[in-house]
Amino acid sequence: MTDSKQVLGPDDVRRVITRMAHEIIERNHGLDGVALIGLQRGGVWLAESLGAEIARIDHEIPVGSIDASLYRDDIGLRPVSPGSVSEVNFEIDGAIVVLVDDVLFTGRTVKAALDAITDYGRPSAVQLAVLVDRGHRELPIRPDFVGKNLPTSKDEQVAATAGGVVIS
C-alpha cells in the first residue's frame, strides 16, 4: 500500500484554472492569435477547462489536442499506447500556441509536443501551461503558467484531474 495525499481539492483546481486563464490573457495582452493545445492524454481536459474559462472571461479561442507519441525520444524503449487522435483544426502558422499539460516532470513529453507542433506549421510563439510542476527536468524546458509548484521525489506518482491533485 502506498500513502496518497491530496494536495489540491476540486475547488482549488477550479480557482487555479481561473487564475491561469487570467494570466494567459494578461501575458498576451488579450487573446489575439492565441490558441490552446492540450497534450494527450492528461492535458486535454485541462485545455478544455482553460478554454471554457477564457471564453467566460473574454471570448472563445481555438482549442485543439495533440498526441506526441510518434515524436517521443524513447520509442522502442517502453510500451507506447497513443491517446486519442490529434485534432488541430486551426491555422498554426503565426498563432500563439499555449501547450497545456496536467503535470510537468522530465520535460520530454513537452519536447516531443514541440516537435509535433512544428510539423503543423510555424507558430509565432509557443507557451507552456501546466497544472502541476513537479520538478526533475531532464531538458531545458520551463513553464510559462503554473497552477502549483509541487516538490516531489522521482519515484512518487502525481495525478492531476478536475477532481484534484493527488501524490502517491
Binding site: V80, P82, V85, S86
Partner: protein
Amino acid sequence: MKHFRSIDEAGPEAVRRLLDLADHMAEVNRRPNPKVPALRGKTVCNVFFEDSTRTRLSFETAAKRLSADIMNFAVSSSSVNKGESLRDTIETIAAMGVDAFVIRHKSSGVPWQVSDWTRASVINAGDGWHSHPTQALLDCYTIRTSLNRTESFDGLKIAIVGDIKHSRVARSDIRAFTMLGADVTLVAPRTLLPPVTDVPVVTELDDIIGDLDVIYLLRMQQERMTESLVPSLREYTIRFGLTPARAKRLPEHALIMHPGPMNRGVEMAVDPSELPGSVITQQVTNGIAVRMAVLFDLLGSGSNLEENE
C-alpha cells in the same frame, strides 16, 4: 508483437489495436507534411519474389512516412538468378542490419520459415494462396471508417465474390471480417471454392445482392480460364460480375470494394468511379495508414520488448 504474418496469429486484440493505431497514422497522412520521426534509425527491407506495385509501394511509403530507411530487394536483378537459396538471400540481407522484412512469395508459409533465419521482424505481404494480412487490415479499416463501425462489425453483411479458392486476400478477409463480428458470405462458382470453408456459400449473386452492406469483388485471374475452371470470362461476368443492373440493386449505403488490380469488364463490369459506394481508392490510401500502424507496432511501440528478451 514481433511478427505480423497472419490475421489468426495476430488475434482480435492486436487487430483492434492496429486499427486504432491506423487512425493516428491517417491523421499524419492528412497533414501538409505527412511525416513523423517515429522509426528513425530503423531499416525495413522489401523482399518481393512476386510482382507487385501497390503493396510494395504502399510499404515503402509507409516506412518513409515513419522516417525508417527502406531497402527494396528486386528478385529479377538479384543473385537469386545465380541460384542463391532463399535462406542465403535472407541471411545476407539480414547481415546488413535489417529490423523488419516485408516478404511476398509464391509459396505458402515462407514468412514463418524466414523468421527462423533472422532476428528481424517479419511482415507477410502475401504468401501463396495462404494469407495477405495487411490487405485484410486495410479492408477492415476502410469498412470501419466508411460505415462508421469503430466498435465492431456486428450484423454487417459482407459478400466476397469470385475466385475464393486461389485468393489469399479472401482467406485473410474472411478471418478478419468474422473476427470483428461480420456475417460473411462467399459467392463463387463451385470450381473456385476451397474444399472446406466455415462460412456460408451461395452460387447466385443475385440472391443476396439486395441485402448487402459490403460487396467485395476479387480479381478474376486470367489463367483460371486455361485451367478450365470457368467456361468463359463472359459467362463469369454474367453470373458474378458487378454489372450496371446489379449495381442498381445494391442498397444505397453499400460499399463496393476490390483489392486491385481490377479487370474492367470482367468482375467490374461498370465504371467504379461512377458508383457512389465505391471505396476502392480509399482502400489504397488506407493501405499506407495500416502499414504504418503495423511497422510502428512491430518496431516502435515497445509492445514486443518482452518477446525480444
